[in-house]
Amino acid sequence: MKLAYWMYAGPAHIGTLRIASSFKNVHAIMHAPIGDDYFNVMRSMLSRERNFTPVTTSVVDRNVLARGSQEKVVDNITRKDAEEHPDLIVLTPTCTSSILQEDLHNFVERAQLEAKGDVMLADVNHYRYNELQAADRTLHQIVQYYIEKARKRGELPEGKTEKPSVNIIGTSTLGFHNNHDCTELKRLMADLGIEVNTLIPEGASVNDLKKMPKAWFNLIPYRELGLATAQYLEEQFGTPYIDITPMGVVETARCIRKIQQVVNAQGAEVDYEEFINEQTLHVSQAAWFSRSIDCQNLTGKKAVVFGDNTHAAAMTKILAREMGIHVVWAGTYCKYDADWFREQVSEYCDEVLITDDHGAIGDAIARVEPSAIFGTQMERHVGKRLDIPCGVIAAPIHVQNFPIGYKPFMGYEGTNQITDLIYNSFTLGMEDHLLEIFGGHDTKEVISRGISADSDLSWSKDGQAELNKIPGFVRGKVKRNTEKFARERGFKEITTEVLYAAKESVGA
């Protein structure tokens, strides 16, 4: 047992559900107790989904506990198949169902006999994998299933596309700025003259998966999601993959050069150097920013970085290599892939921190007192407590990290967005600091004087105590309304009863 208050990566089934609900017309059925379907709430609230999240539950209750699911799971699968005709139904085990040890494989086979769509069981061990690992595995599993299905039916296409083309693998629902990154990557590919063969899982149809072998190469923008799929495709079809995240000016260029190398090796004759040069110097403002005097002011400032592998590694490199900021430590909560992270960042920071204990992160921040933090929502709150500004760069995230405006982290527009994020974090910190030196804004005292400042009324002790329980942001209004009410009715003292009588009469 472990005492835990907060976790960076969710449980395995969340990963599976993220993959399933990213695809078009795929439905997930969780084998879970009532209340485990909060994934639907997260998706509906965080990413403001207009459509119903295609996830339902085959409820595990007392009866299931006593007698097993029996027909229930099969019935739920065939019912959903008839109601919504999904292409694929993914039966998703949860921590509860995995200890029940029911033969879910058998349920899937039985349901498949009746269902028109495909049915599969997500093969994920709840106690060994987290959300990110499970997502990676589920995506691989689905791709493999459809490749093998097509192969059996002789429907696998021969050869490659005529022009250089790519499968972009790994953008998914509830991913950090994934939808914006996706748009930016498509734009980048178009600029490079590369066709997007498939883009999975977000918005893709499972029927398109058999087309995947036609691509010249696979692009894996996120370290956490898609690697297993890319390795599988390389193994099966020899398709090379590129796992350089195009985040930051230098890494974007490195990614594009790798693409050039990979497509030229297959007979294309492209030269992207001119494109990289033009974009770097004139489209992205990041290179110019690093020369500007603004950025000079940031030289040697201390920062710390924490997040998932992809974003924490990319940010560390951008801060250190492109802006001359001193990264005291960089850390990741992807413990299972810690070696990769160490290798990526060790030359760009003093210290590497591998942990998923938010208390240890908080302590490490307090210890080094950086001028800015780049982390998750948790680090943002640590920053609030310590009065250090924080730019959010990775999940776990809140609804404000699903902006409506176009805010990619990848590609050349991404470099602009990241520059703003970094610069705004630091200036705010400077401003705060100056305010402190000069004792804050000089308007602070004046604004709180309301019309009731010179009140002829007195508040009884219990009335005052009750007033103090009202949340601060409406207390002033409640106080004024109550006093107005008391004055109109000639009460001399305001007690709890008067306070509530006033509330009832005017809705204070």
Partner: protein, 467 residues
């Protein structure tokens, strides 16, 4: 809607139970704040932890007095001793927080692997010297607010049995608390004996925010009724005395286990009343309590009329409109009854679980209200099926759907007004004073969408989109 055949009595149905609600462990979110000296330890998996973290939003950052005892593979396969593991964690909690009580919340996993929490607790309790209360608030058996019910039922067994004989005893029980709260004013309503009618002690049960506790206590004081205590109190060390023969009354519709425990184990008499939600409910609640004590209620007519007059600006927005409760928090019957009194038509009352005995008075008031308002009697659907409900919503086109957050945005995108049901759980909705707050919530989507209605942006999904 066809009103050709008016049913004579409420119609009860039961569907598949495939509906969305919160896991009952969510009760720790409001109970740890209510019981100030408690610590809630949820013994479960990452799934439970992730739910709490996401459902509580920012509260997690305020150093909450709750934590997960996260079960690992060794715990599941019984390679580790439950007792030793729990002892280690509880000692750590004692060291770091020193609470007056540790509440263990059992989850689905502890049910399935049959961890004997009730058996382990007394042993560990005597070893570490902190009371350990066990509540099995799991998703196998319960929904959302029923979590509070399981915790309060367990707490009911911890209430002192005998009233302290002398004033010194009374002080003794709270001596340490007093010391800790030095200088803090006691916030309970001052209880001057002379203002009360002589009646058997009354204890109210149900966790409410402190201001609402004050309001309801005052409301009864006006009738000369003294509230001897609340379950729960602000602190575990202040749990009310419950002697055999005391009267108890519930303030929330989801507290049936607590009611049962108080009746059977503590030999209390339950006052079965409608719940004090809405001015009609509050009045009926007070009247019922008065009648049990043989008191003629004073001034309730005027008080209720005055509240209704203050609500008119909201009531006119919903009068004649229809509402559909998908059902997820067990407040549905009380809210529906209030809204019928406001002039709304209730198309369906979905509800996770319907205790017809505990809610009998509330159901009777609903029926009576429908008859008096000439409103058709709604169907009460226990364990609803959300998919079927959505088909019914498409057909009956209600003016407002009260639903969980999983369905709210998709319904709005299809031009259907929604109100998140969860807000009714966290807002102050009890008593005369807060009737306005209920209507503020109910009318908010209607007011908002009124403001936008000329823009022609009702349906924001593409035609080919499914369902």
């Amino acid at each position: 809607m066809t009103v050709a055949q008016q049913p004579e009595a409420l119609n009860f149905e039961c569907e598949t139970g495939n509906y969305h609600t919160f896991c009952p462990i969510s009760c720790v979110a409001w109970l740890y704040q209510k019981i100030e000296d408690s610590f809630f330890l949820v013994i479960g998996t990452k799934t439970c932890g992730y739910f709490l973290q996401n459902a509580m939003g920012v509260m997690i950052f305020a150093e909450p007095r709750y934590a997960m005892a996260e079960l690992e593979e060794g715990d599941i396969s019984a390679q580790l001793s439950d007792y030793e593991e729990l002892k280690r964690l509880c000692e750590q909690i004692k060291r770091d927080r020193n609470p007056s009580v540790i509440v263990w919340i059992g989850t689905c996993t502890t049910e399935i692997i049959k961890t004997d929490l009730e058996g382990l607790a007394p042993k560990l309790e005597s070893e570490i010297g902190i009371p350990i209360v066990v509540a099995r608030a799991n998703g196998l058996d319960y929904a959302f607010t029923q979590g509070e019910d399981t915790v309060l039922a367990a707490m009911a067994n911890r209430c002192p049995e005998k009233a302290p004989v002398s004033e010194t005893d009374k002080n003794e029980r709270n001596a340490i608390q007093k010391l800790l709260n030095f200088g803090k004013k006691k916030e309970e309503v001052a209880q001057d004996e002379s203002e009360y009618v002589d009646h058997k002690p009354l204890v109210l049960f149900g966790s409410l925010p402190d201001p609402v506790v004050t309001q309801l206590t005052l409301e009864l004081k006006r009738q000369g009724i003294k509230v001897s205590g609340w379950l729960p109190a602000k602190r575990f060390t202040e749990l009310p005395v419950i002697e055999e023969g005391y009267y108890v009354a519930g303030v929330n519709p989801f507290l049936s286990r607590t009611a049962t425990t108080l009746m059977r184990r503590r030999k209390c008499k339950l006052i079965g009343a409608p719940f004090p939600i809405g001015p009609d409910g509050t009045r009926a609640w007070i009247e019922k309590i008065c009648s049990v004590f043989g008191i003629t209620p004073q001034g309730l007519d005027e008080r209720e009329a005055q509240i209704w007059a203050g609500l008119e600006e909201y009531v006119k927005l919903i009068r004649g409109k229809s509402v559909f409760f998908m059902g997820d928090n067990l407040l549905e019957v009380s809210l529906a009854r209030f809204l019928v009194r406001c002039g709304m038509t209730v198309q369906e009352i979905g509800i996770p679980y319907m205790d017809k005995r505990y809610q009998a008075a509330e159901l009777a008031l609903l029926e009576k209200t429908c008859q008096e308002m000439g409103s058709p009697l709604p169907t009460i659907v226990e364990k609803p099926d959300n998919y079927n409900q959505i088909q019914r919503i498409y057909e009956s086109k209600p003016d407002l759907v009260i639903t969980g957050m999983a369905h709210a945005n998709p319904l709005e995108a299809r031009g259907i007004n929604t109100k998140w049901s969860v807000e009714f759980t966290f807002a102050q909705i009890h008593g005369f004073t807060n009737a306005r707050d209920v209507l503020e919530l109910v009318t908010r989507p209607l007011r908002r969408n009124n403001n936008l209605k000329d823009l022609g942006w009702d349906k924001l999904v593409r035609e080919e989109a499914k369902i």
